[in-house]
Structure formats: structure tokens, C-alpha cells
């Protein structure tokens, strides 16, 4: 799998620093599960955190801290807990949120054959799964904030570029685009937005209450 559209250094560093809203973290973690290049880059930002930890200074722990911690360890479940597993086309972090693969998603129809499912994440940003039939245009929209769209199945293309499995599109308020899902396979994407989308045109505007955006 060749991924051509990667996460920005800014997003990777914010993820390593633990500063991303949960919905963005989900998209980043899902992309990193598919992209070793970004995983390595995120690892180098983690190393900055490691260096800061070494230099954070030392604040004395309580007198019995070691004994208390060992007692705490005694109370922990023994054995290796199973790591989250991928489910179908969903990498492990997404499968953990959905509780399975695409079959486990509770899709809602939002018109034009498009389906979506909003995932439960805290904070101001929203994560959603989108299911768009092959050949269908994704409703034309601009953004008020940042939007990340990660392709999990199928592919879409806008005026300039195309995005397939593992590719992530980063857009903001400067981007006005009309992506269309390529023929051949329905498209499933994971998208995170940190501000409401504003769709243009009458029909999409009517659909907005159903899209909850």
C-alpha cells in the first residue's frame, strides 16, 4: 500500500504532545496504524517528550511511594491483556471505538445514498464515519475549522488530487472542494472536524439537521 497523503508535522507533534482533541487523535492513531512513515515521525516527536521528561527536574516522591506502587502492582490483573485488534478494514484504534468492523457500525442514512455514523468522542471536535456510494459526489462544502478525512475503503478525488486507503486529506477554511468517489467501489472514510461544516446549496443545507453538522 502506497500512501501519498500524510499527516502534517504540526499534527504529529500535537499528537505526541497529547494536545489533540479526541476526535483528531482517533484519526491520527488510525492513520499511524496504516503508515509506518508517519508512525516513525510521531516516534521522533515522542522522543522530544522523552528528552523533556529527562530534563523536567525531580520532585521527591512520598516516603512509601515505592512500596505503595509495588502493592498497586500486586493488585493489577496478571497476564498480558489482549491488545485491541483490527476488524476488517478498520485498524485497531477505530475498531475499538466502533466495537468491530464496518458491519458493527450503526449507519444512518443522510440522503443521496450517503450514510454516516457519529462516533462517541469527548471535547469540541467530532469524529464520524462516512459511507459514500461509488461515483457519488461528496456534498460540496467548505470548512470553518480543520477537517481530517482518512480513506479506509475506495477512493475519492477532488479537482487536483486523489485519495485512496490510508491517505488523509487535511483541509481548512481556505479549501472549497468537490470530491467525487471514484467508480468501482463504495468509499468509507473517517473524518474529524473541529468546527461545523457549512454545506453550500439548498439540498445539502436541508440535509444538515440530519447530518448533525
Amino acid at each position: 500500500m502506497t500512501i501519498r497523503h500524510h499527516l502534517s508535522d504540526q499534527l504529529l507533534m500535537a499528537y505526541a504532545a497529547g494536545q489533540l482533541p479526541e476526535a483528531f487523535s482517533l484519526v491520527v492513531a488510525t492513520h499511524l496504524s496504516l503508515c509506518d512513515d508517519c508512525r516513525a515521525q510521531a516516534g521522533s516527536f515522542d522522543a522530544v517528550g522523552g528528552a523533556l521528561l529527562e530534563e523536567a527536574g525531580e520532585t521527591a516522591m512520598g516516603e512509601d511511594a515505592l512500596a505503595q506502587t509495588l502493592a498497586r502492582i500486586e493488585g493489577l490483573p496478571q497476564g498480558r491483556s489482549g491488545a485491541p485488534k483490527p476488524a476488517g478494514i478498520f485498524p485497531a484504534p477505530l475498531a475499538a471505538y466502533v466495537g468491530g468492523g464496518p458491519d458493527a457500525v450503526r449507519w444512518r442514512r443522510v440522503g443521496g445514498g450517503v450514510r454516516q455514523a457519529i462516533l462517541s468522542t469527548g471535547g469540541s471536535a467530532t469524529a464520524r464515519l462516512l459511507y459514500i456510494p461509488a461515483g457519488r459526489a461528496v456534498p460540496d462544502h467548505g470548512h470553518q475549522g480543520m477537517e481530517l478525512t482518512l480513506v479506509l475503503q475506495g477512493a475519492f478525488a477532488d479537482e487536483d488530487q486523489s485519495f485512496a486507503r490510508g491517505d488523509v486529506e487535511i483541509s481548512d477554511e481556505t479549501v472549497e472542494h468537490t470530491p467525487t468517489v471514484l467508480a468501482g467501489q463504495d468509499c468509507i472514510c473517517l473524518a474529524a472536524t473541529d468546527a461545523p461544516l457549512r454545506f453550500r446549496g439548498l439540498i445539502p443545507r436541508l440535509a444538515q439537521p440530519f447530518l448533525r453538522i
Binding site: Q19, A47, V48, E55, M61, A92
Partner: protein, 206 residues
């Protein structure tokens, strides 16, 4: 650490060669301590002495880190104990080819901070387990630890405004949109090494 080459250099007794002044009397050897080796003893032998050595070094740093991130002393103490307990429990997931122990402890502390201070969930990438018989290259482990030491020095050498910005990003004073990706730190070699470690891992998982 460059004056003696050889596969077991990392196991050699601590050598002089402190690169910067340290406060605690034992701290001079910390640069040279084989943290990954101690963690392997925790993983393989449930070795309490090895754990105690890791605890003495990292727990006070985690506590300081969390307090700089805005936690009160009691909460930071509690979380630092949690972090060290997780270190014990998840020792089998540490991959010395991909991170130094300091970096790994940082990621545990960061995730704990998200859980507790921000009360949010943290999505983590899929784990790439290195199988039932992990045999990481000792040279790799040493390389990762040396990189952290180099980064510490590079951070110290940054102009103050730049260093402050990085600290604020990691201590949570900046929102994600304010974080600047350009750190001025030499991260390219670290990325390349992790990339190679991932490729090796993928081949083994093949």
C-alpha cells in the same frame, strides 16, 4: 560512550564522562545506566531491584513533569505511581528498537495525563507486537538511549524562545493549532532509525 566500541559496552560499569552537571550524587551514572536492560529484567524476571532503580530515576521526573503540566502535588504523586505500575505491567510492550525507556515512560505519563487531567480517551496506533520471543538488538537499544541524551543536549542548546515554545507545547500551554512543527531539533536521524526498526519488525511479522 564512543571511546569503547563493542556489543556489550552498554553493560559496562558506568564510566566517567558526565556531559553536564547533575545535582544528586548518584545521578552522574544515570547517563550510562542501561535502562532498557533493567526493564527487560522487570519483564522477564519480575525483578524488584531493577524496578526500584527505574522507579528512583523516573518516578520523580514523572511527578515533576505532571506538576509542570498543571497537576497538584497529590494528584501528580498518585499518577506517577500509576505510571510506574503501568511500566511494570506493560514491560513486554516496550520495544527498545523504537524508543528509549525515557521516551516510553513519557508516552505513558502523557496518556495518564490525558485520562486524568483532561478526562478524555486517547486513541493509540495498532500495537506491533514483536512476538513471543522478542530479541531486540542491544545496539538498537543503546542507540535509542543515546539519541535521547543527544536530544537533551540539543534542547539545552536551543535559543530560549524556541525551547520555551517546545516546553509549552508538551506541558499543555498551547492548543494544537498553536503548536509549531519546526522544533529546530535534529529529529531526522531518529525518524530514520525508527523507520528501519519498523521495517525489520514488519519483516519478522511477515
Amino acid at each position: 560512550m564512543t571511546e569503547e566500541a563493542g556489543p556489550f559496552l552498554w553493560m559496562a560499569p558506568a564510566k566517567v564522562g558526565a556531559r553536564r552537571k547533575r545535582k544528586a550524587p548518584l545521578a552522574k551514572a544515570d547517563n550510562e545506566t542501561d535502562w532498557a536492560g533493567l526493564l527487560a529484567k522487570v519483564r522477564d524476571d519480575r525483578d524488584r531491584a531493577a524496578f526500584a532503580a527505574l522507579f528512583r530515576h523516573f518516578a520523580p521526573r514523572v511527578k515533576a513533569f505532571l506538576m509542570k503540566s498543571g497537576a497538584g502535588a497529590a494528584l501528580a504523586e498518585e499518577c506517577a505511581q500509576d505510571v510506574m505500575a503501568v511500566l511494570w505491567q506493560k514491560a513486554h510492550l516496550f520495544d527498545p528498537g523504537r524508543a528509549s525507556v525515557a521516551t516510553w515512560v513519557y508516552t505513558i505519563a502523557r496518556n495518564r495525563r490525558i485520562d486524568v487531567l483532561r478526562k478524555a480517551r486517547r486513541a493509540e496506533p495498532e500495537e506491533l507486537d514483536w512476538g513471543p520471543e522478542p530479541a531486540p538488538d542491544q545496539a538498537e537499544a543503546l542507540a535509542a538511549q543515546e539519541e535521547t541524551e543527544r536530544l537533551v543536549r540539543a534542547l539545552g542548546a536551543l535559543p530560549t524562545p524556541q525551547r520555551t515554545l517546545i516546553e509549552r507545547a508538551f506541558y499543555g500551554d498551547l492548543s494544537h493549532s498553536e503548536i509549531a512543527a519546526e522544533t529546530g531539533l535534529p529529529l531526522g536521524t531518529i525518524k530514520s532509525r525508527i523507520r528501519l526498526a519498523l521495517e525489520k519488525l514488519r519483516r519478522q511479522m511477515g
